[in-house]
Amino acid sequence: MASSISSSVLRLLSSPRILPNPSAFSSISAFLLPSRSLVFSSPISFQPLPKSPSLAGPLRAQQQQEEDQEATASIDVSLIPPKLRDIIALFQSVPEPKAKYQQLLHYGARLPPLDPAFKIDAYRVRGCVSQVWVRAFADPDDPAAVRFEADSDSALTKGLAALLVSGLSGSPATVIARVPPDFVQLLGLRQSLTPSRNNGFLNMLKLMQQKALQLYIEDAKAEKNKAIESETKGTGKVEKDPILDQEKAKEISRESLSPSNGSASPSISSVADKKDSSEIYGDGIGGRKKRIVVRLKQALSPVELEVKDVSYLHAGHAGVRGSADGETHFNVRAISKEFEGKSLVKRHRLIYDLLQEELQQGLHALSIDAKTPSEAQ
C-alpha cells in the first residue's frame, strides 16, 4: 500500500504541469538531488548550489519539484487512517490540477451544513481569510471514536474541511492526533504547510486534533471515575487520586504530541489564541484561574469552590510545551446543589462544558472533585 502511494507520488510530481508552491521558495535552502531514483532508496546527500546570481525561475521550479519529492518520501503513511488513505488515493488518480479542485469542491458540496448554533467563536478556526467552524463529538455508537462536523463560507476551504471530516471521523483520538499534516502534499494540491494565521488547512487540522484530544481526556476521566465509583461501596464518596489523574494526562500528551512537524502549531495557535482571549477578558496572562472561578461560580452557585493551579507538577512534559506560563492543569473542588441527581460522569461533563473556551486556549486537564452539599458532610 505504501509503495503504491509512493510510486503514484512520483508520477504525480514528475508531471511538468504540476509545479510546486512558490511560497516555499524562501524557506528551503538550495540543494540538488543526485537523481530521482535515489529519493526512495539511499540516504540523500545535500550539495549547495553553485553560486549563480542569475538563477532563473524555471530552474528554481525544478528544485522545488525535487524538494517536494524528498518531502513526500518522508511521510509515514502508516500514520494515516484508512479512510483518509482512500481519499488520498482518489485524489492521486486524478492527475489534472483543475480536476482535483473539482473533486475538492464536490467533497465540500456533499458536506452536511453545520447547525448555526455551532457557528460561534468557540468552534471557529483561527485565520483571517475565510470563516471556518469545526466541531468534534464522541460517536454515540462507539465512544472511543471521534466524529467531526465542519463548515466554511469559502468553497475550497469547505472542500478541505470535508476531506478532513470524512478522512478522520470514526478514528480514535490517539490516531487522529498523530496524523502528519504533510499528508496533504500527497493530494497534489500545493497546500502550504507553513504555520501561520492564514493557513486554514493547517489550523483546521490542528483544531480537530486538539478537540479530539479533549474528548479523549474527558472520556478517560469519565471511565476512570466510573470504575472507581463501582469499586467503592456506593457511599457516594469518591476518592480522587490526583497522581493517577496526572499520570494519565502525561501519558496522553506524551504519546500524541510527538515532536514532529505537526506539534509546533498547536502551541503556536494556542498561545496566539490565549492572547486573543486575554484581550477579551482584559485579565492578561494569569487570568485563567480567575476565569475558571468566575465561570463555575456563575453556573454552579457553589457552597464551596476551590480552584488550584497545579501546572507546575506537569512542567516539562510535551503537553505543556507552548503554554510556558503554566495554567494548563488545575484541581477543581466544588460543592454545589447543581450536582444533585447527576452521575459522576455527568458532573464532570458539566464542568468541562462550562470551561470549553479555556480548553481550547491552552487548558489541558482538570482534576475534579464534585460533591453535592449532602455528600460533603
Partner: protein
C-alpha cells in the same frame, strides 16, 4: 481575441526553460495587440478589446503615445518591466501576473544594487564615526533624507524622519504628539475607510488620554465629506485621513480637508501610502501637518518608511523611542534630547534600507511621477471597465471619470463566490497574484456589509495585456466555481 494572445502556454521544464522568461517576453512584443493600437485617443470599433468598454468617451482608449505619433510605441509598463527581474518568472506553470502592489511593490535592479553596494563597499555606522567609511555611509544616509524631502517637497530636510514603516510613523505621532496634546473630551476624526495602522494607534492613545474617536461614514462607497465637515468642531484636535484608499481606490481632496480642519484648529495627519508611490505629492501645497508613507510600496526596500512633520510641530514633540542617537547629553538620572530629526531616530537606523529608498526615489524620478500617474490613470480606467463587464461582480469605490480620479486598484466581490476561492484559483490555475481578505480595513468591510473582498492592485510596470490575462482568468475562475457547485 486579444485576450487569448496574452495567455501564454505553460512553461516546459527542461534546461532550455531557462530562457522561457525572455522568450515569452519577445512573444509578447511580437504578437502584442499594441501593434494595432490607435495612437489617437479615440475608440475604434474594429478593436476587439474596446468593445467591452463602458459607454462614455471618458474611458479613453489606451494610448501613451502623443496623438501625432503614428508608429506604435511601447507602454510605460513594457518599457519598465525589464528593470524588475522578479517579474520574469513562471508561477504554477504560468507567467506571473503580479497584481498585489497595494500590499507591496517590486524593486528595480538599481535599488537591489544600491543595497548590495552599500554592504559591499561602505557599510558603517552613521553619525558616529570619524573614519572614511562612516563618513561615506553618513553622507549616503543623509543624502537619502534629502531625496525624500525633495520628493515630497518638504521645506526643510529636518522634517523627514526615517521610521521602520508608515505604521511606526503613525505610532510615533500618536505616542509623542498625541500623548502630549490630547486631553479628555478632545476629538480625533477619522474615516471609516482608514487602514488599521491609522486607527489602532489612536484607539490606544485615546484610551490613555481620554480623547474620543469619531468616524466619517460612507456615502455611495466613498467617505462622506459633508458629514466630515459636520463632525469638525472646536473639540477636534486631529484629523486622520488617507490620501488614496487601498480598498475603494478613491482619492480624498486633502487640500480642502486641511483647510476645513485648520479652521477649527485641528491638525491633519495624512496616510499617503497609496498616493506617494503613484502621483506627485507636495506637502507644502497640501499644507498637511503630518504625512506618512512606506518605502516598500514605492519600489524601495522593506524596513523603511518616513514621517513628514512641520518643523515647528516636531520641535515641540517629546521623544518616541529613547536610546542612542536621539540624545545630546546623558547623565545618570536624566538626559537631554537632540533636535529633530535625530530626536525621533533612536539607535542605529536601517541605513541600507534608507539608502535603498533613496535609490527608489531616483528611479521613480527618472521616469517622472507625472508620467507614472498618467499611465496609471489609463490603466485604472481600463481595469475598472473591464472588470465591470464581468457578470455578477461588484467593485467597491467610485467609477473613474474625468472629474473622479480612481487609483489603479479594484477591490471586488463576485456573487456567491468567496474571494479567497477566487484568489486561490487565480493563483493556482493562472499564476495571477491578487489579494483576498479585509486588506487591513475591517471597519470599512463591515460598513460595506462584507467579510472580505478580492483586490487587484496595479503599478506602473503592469501592462494592459496583464489586465486582459487577469480578466480572462477571472472569468475562467468564476465559471469553475459556478459549474462545480
Amino acid at each position: 481575441m486579444a485576450a487569448s494572445l496574452c495567455h501564454f502556454p505553460p512553461a516546459v521544464s527542461s534546461s532550455s526553460s531557462l530562457f522561457v522568461g525572455s522568450k515569452s517576453r519577445s512573444l509578447l512584443l511580437a504578437v502584442s495587440p499594441f501593434k494595432h493600437f490607435p495612437s489617437k485617443s479615440s475608440i475604434s470599433a474594429s478593436l476587439p478589446w474596446t468593445r467591452s468598454y463602458a459607454v462614455s468617451n471618458d474611458a479613453a482608449a489606451f494610448s501613451v503615445a502623443s496623438p501625432s505619433d503614428l508608429r506604435e510605441s511601447p507602454s510605460l509598463g513594457e518599457i519598465t518591466r525589464p528593470d524588475f527581474p522578479i517579474l520574469r518568472q513562471v508561477v504554477n506553470g504560468f507567467n506571473l501576473v503580479y497584481f498585489d502592489n497595494a500590499a507591496t511593490s517590486q524593486k528595480p535592479s538599481s535599488v537591489i544594487k544600491a543595497l548590495s553596494e552599500y554592504y559591499e563597499l561602505y557599510n558603517s555606522n552613521v553619525h558616529r564615526g570619524v573614519h572614511y567609511l562612516s563618513a561615506k555611509a553618513t553622507d549616503a544616509y543623509e543624502e537619502a533624507r534629502n531625496k525624500v524631502a525633495n520628493f515630497v517637497n518638504a521645506a526643510d530636510r529636518r522634517e523627514i524622519i526615517f521610521t521602520r514603516n508608515a505604521t511606526e510613523a503613525i505610532n510615533l505621532v500618536a505616542y509623542s504628539w498625541g500623548a502630549l496634546n490630547l486631553r479628555p473630551g478632545d476629538e480625533i476624526v477619522l474615516t471609516i475607510a482608514e487602514h488599521h495602522s491609522s486607527i489602532v494607534p489612536w484607539q490606544i492613545v485615546a484610551k490613555k488620554t481620554g480623547a474620543v474617536l469619531k468616524y466619517v461614514e460612507l456615502t455611495k462607497e466613498v467617505p462622506d465629506l459633508d458629514q466630515f465637515k459636520g463632525l469638525l468642531s472646536k473639540n477636534t484636535k486631529l484629523v486622520v485621513a488617507h490620501h488614496v484608499s487601498n480598498v475603494l481606490g478613491s482619492v480624498l481632496p486633502i487640500d480642502e480637508i486641511v483647510d476645513w480642519s485648520h479652521k477649527v484648529g485641528a491638525k491633519v495627519l495624512v496616510d499617503a501610502c497609496q498616493s506617494v508611490p503613484h502621483m506627485v505629492v507636495d506637502v507644502q501645497k497640501l499644507n498637511v501637518d503630518f504625512l506618512v508613507a512606506s518605502s516598500h510600496k514605492m519600489c524601495g526596500p522593506t524596513g523603511a518608511g518616513f514621517l513628514y512633520g512641520k518643523i515647528n510641530l516636531l520641535s515641540s514633540m517629546p521623544p518616541f523611542l529613547g536610546g542612542g542617537e536621539m540624545i545630546t547629553d546623558v547623565f545618570q538620572d536624566y538626559s537631554t534630547y537632540a533636535e529633530p530629526p535625530s530626536r525621533f531616530e533612536a539607535g542605529t537606523p536601517a541605513i541600507a534600507e534608507a539608502i535603498g529608498l533613496g535609490a527608489a526615489i531616483d528611479y521613480l524620478s527618472s521616469i517622472g511621477m507625472e508620467k507614472i500617474h498618467n499611465y496609471e490613470k489609463k490603466l485604472s480606467e481600463y481595469l475598472y471597465y473591464q472588470l465591470s463587464s464581468v457578470p455578477n461582480i461588484h467593485i467597491y469605490g467610485p467609477a473613474p471619470s474625468d472629474t473622479v480620479h480612481r487609483a489603479a486598484l479594484c477591490a471586488f466581490n463576485v456573487d456567491n463566490i468567496h474571494p479567497t476561492d477566487i484568489a486561490t484559483f487565480l493563483d493556482e490555475q493562472h499564476g495571477v497574484a491578487v489579494r483576498s481578505g479585509h486588506h487591513c480595513a475591517q471597519p470599512l468591510h463591515r460598513a460595506l456589509g462584507v467579510n472580505a473582498s478580492a483586490r487587484a492592485s496595479l503599478y506602473f510596470y503592469n501592462t494592459k495585456e496583464e489586465v486582459d490575462t487577469f480578466i480572462q482568468a477571472l472569468k475562467d475562475t468564476i465559471e469553475f466555481f459556478t459549474t462545480a457547485a
